[in-house]
Symmetry: C2
């Protein structure tokens, strides 16, 4: 292995945005597609998504939700039904206008003028309207409620500036859609999911989050309340990692979701919607990644351990391979987090150093090197992704499985603890306007990407003060955490009028 330098370049401190692109590329997670603003999710990135899906899907099923699938295409008229919803999404809709291609005079393909759709379709940017139309026939009486449905799907939003995982025109997500008998039930569901997302992101992705309600200007288009979980990335910006919406009766009214209530009267249902997306992969990269690339928390990684046989291209290799196989078998018999330890052996013909760096960049928690000398001592050489790259430890075979399990636990905990410490170090309770400005103002020199952080600051509740922060400092209210909303009532950090809440202010992705 190389003795100096980092696996990827630039370093985070030099250019965080460029570091992110390079970390994603070096780990082989995804790449830009030859379609504007879209991405190709490569096998290593998709394996992460499959793990996210499997775990979250299990949690949703445990809480009574069932999966279903609804159309990709939504008639234009559906979008028009909810006035705020339209305003939120009309600007970013891909529109399908024809259902056939023909050859033109020059032999090139063009949309067929004789195959114009009577009513154009949009490709779903989110599915409240089409699912609402279907739910209208599924829900008849209070006995049909609650209706708890989830969908795993692709969606499109025509964004102008895109970045792998964080903001792409097409992305993958799950979207939950539920209908309830009462406002209280729907609100309870909204908060139950917010809690479920918090548990998932913190316990599996090892990303600490702040949860709370959005300010009116940041609400999902058409929602009564939007709740979110917000995480601090390595550059101190906030990333919205999941949202849960209480939709009141807005969408039920727009879609005609009506039920006979317990008194026999017709009533509109109370609905919720909520989702997380492939954006979470970007959050993993920017929360745990270091100057050698990504670091994968053991509870979400597609591979816990990679075994690297020391190969010399001679007869000894067969012995080393056999030994590597037995180490792999030993580890696969052990259990981490309820599943067999995931092990691969890298038998590629390539330099040992090159292969070490490959797996460092891919973020695999543990690398185990086995060579003739290890075999002599019935031992292996173990490297941890969360330690200095050259640091290693000889481990005797009898202790190996239990040590690997304990190490995976330590790495998982370490990921969370480091992220939490980073966030806490960069979170301030700020009451004075001058401090607020100083905290967020772009530094005149040095690294202009990494500054600021999370500020918990009193706010009077006026859109004007929120807008001032946005315009002047590029800072938005990420959410209003519940625990602080009642107990601090200092004057608004912007205007000095009496405070109404203490939101989390931050720059954000």
């Amino acid at each position: 292995m190389a003795k100096t330098g980092n696996a990827i370049s630039p370093a985070r401190s030099a250019d965080y945005a460029a570091w992110y692109q390079e970390a994603v590329r070096a780990a082989d997670l995804a790449e830009n597609a030859p379609v504007r603003g879209c991405m190709v999710i490569k096998p290593w990135g998709y394996a992460l998504w499959e793990n996210i899906q499997a775990i979250l899907d299990g949690m949703l099923k445990q809480t009574g939700h069932r999966n279903a699938y609804f159309p990709l295409l939504i008639p234009l008229s559906y979008l028009e039904k909810e006035a705020e919803h339209v305003d939120g999404f009309a600007k970013e809709c891909a529109v399908v206008t024809h259902h056939r291609l023909v050859k033109d005079a020059g032999g090139g393909l063009v949309p067929d003028k004789d195959a114009i759709l009577p009513e154009p379709y949009i490709i779903r940017p989110t599915s409240e309207t089409i699912i609402g139309a279907v739910f209208a026939s599924w829900v008849q009486t209070h006995r049909d409620l609650p209706l708890l449905i989830n969908q795993w799907a692709n969606v499109l939003r025509w964004e102008m500036r895109t970045r792998l995982f964080l903001r792409t025109i097409e992305f993958l997500w799950q979207e939950g859609h539920t209908v309830h008998e009462t406002s209280d039930d729907a609100l309870a569901e909204t908060l139950k999911i917010l809690k479920l997302y918090t548990d998932f992101v913190q316990n599996y992705l090892a990303i600490p989050v702040v949860s709370g309600v959005k300010s009116p200007s940041e609400r999902f288009a058409g929602a009564v309340e939007t709740y979110s979980i917000e995480a601090m990335m390595g550059d101190r910006k906030a990333l919205q990692a999941g949202t849960s919406q209480f939709l009141g009766q807005n969408f039920a009214r727009a879609s005609g979701i009506q039920f006979r209530n317990r008194t026999g009267a017709a009533e509109f249902g109370w609905t919720t919607s909520w989702g997380v997306s492939t954006r979470l992969i970007g959050a993993i990269v920017m929360t745990h990644g270091d100057d050698n690339g990504i670091v994968l928390p053991p509870r979400i990684t597609p591979m816990h351990v990679v075994i690297l046989p020391v190969m010399r291209g001679d007869d000894a290799d067969a012995v080393v391979f056999e030994y590597a196989d037995s180490v792999a078998a030993q580890l696969r018999d052990a259990t981490f987090d309820g599943r067999s330890i995931l092990v691969e052996i890298d038998k590629r013909e390539a330099g040992g150093g090159h292969k070490q760096w490959d797996w460092i960049k891919k973020g695999v928690p543990i690398r185990i090197e086995v060579g003739p000398r290890d075999i002599e001592h019935d031992a292996v050489t173990l490297f941890r992704r969360d330690e200095e790259t050259r640091r290693s430890k000889k481990v005797a075979r009898p202790e190996l499985a239990s040590l690997v399990v304990a190490t995976l636990d330590e790495i998982q905990k370490g990921c969370f603890d480091r992220a939490l410490a980073h966030r806490d170090t960069n979170t301030r309770h700020i009451s004075k306007k001058s401090d607020f400005v100083e905290f967020f103002e772009l530094p005149k020199s040095g690294n202009r990407e990494i500054y600021g952080g999370f500020a918990l600051s009193p706010w009077c509740g006026s859109p004007a003060c929120e807008e001032w922060a946005k315009t002047t400092l590029k800072v938005t209210i990420r959410c209003i955490p519940e625990e602080t909303s009642a107990d601090r009532r200092e004057p608004c950090v912007v205007c000095g009028q009496p405070g109404a809440a203490v939101p989390l202010f931050a720059r954000s992705y």
Copy 2:
């Protein structure tokens, strides 16, 4: 339970097409969406799809394939690259022309004339062209091969006549795309997947299939050879349950997938593609369904056993529920096909007969009724979906788990054996033209839906004879099974010229 009559209407023999729609509806598998030609896959149908995905995905990973995700949108110019491919798909492409909506003078939404895409996109009808463009950069040398990629995705094909699961504008599928160093390697992959599909469909879905190569007229647009698996449905029509394509260098040439081969020369890759879709759910319905609705093979059903507590609305119910819970726990401790037996207890307030019929229509393999008298004898009352609806058996608790496991095995085997017997009964080796015509000719009276079957008949290989069968009898060559292609060389069943192969002729979905 009702003493007479079937759970659904009409019977298969009265109107097979109407029976199919009703079987799907009564089982709550899917429904027509409020978008032309599209479907909503309801939770029970989607749970079947999830099982199909989980099993098939495991088989594909076992054979070295990895999942990835590629864009939904394909630039028009990509489709133009492969001439035959264009001709096959241009007529059924949904075209995206705008990326924004605006309000018109009347306040309604219309595609924004200022947001016309410079080049229109089509929604993927299949992904050879877009994946090929990406593979072109992934493949550099022979060391990058084989490249074995699979994608789970939605696709759109603008069909004019649609039917739930069997032919819908949008459907869900997996599409495999691989690149190989040699023609032999690619052909071997094509056939390996054909075998894998055969194993999956026969062993899990309990559907016997005939596999073979397509005639040139039925090939996938742009393929060198298309192979398929064909199953006989309850009405004796064939259903193509999966295809595997050997694409030669056609798509590699169109997309520029080139590699440095072992001699250092640049060469185009040899590619394959293959897929199965939500259509398989239609195949399950039409292979195993009876006049009471669908029947689910135990290895694919989302639920093995439903427990129906006999409820009287009095204090005794609590005792029955407790007993039902202990029966469920007993069964969940047992294993069928490598997983814990899947059990649900139906505690809904509804008549016992109504609930029995509900689960019959949903095709659950085993129903277990528990009431006060069962509790007295420490027993349960067991019903099998593949037996007459009222027939039941008292089973003592100590024997219950092992009996359920054995019964599930029997039902799985029974599903396959019945389907195989049905197919064999309705498959003929026909050499004489008059017999061929009689076999396929629409009966003058009686059930005009159910006639014919599979004919293995010699064919000279000319498109004219194939076309004659299609035009005159609405019969196509489904595939040319390998085992018969060499051994029978009788004169062509249509023209009497020397035969070149013995294809499987049938009407089809």
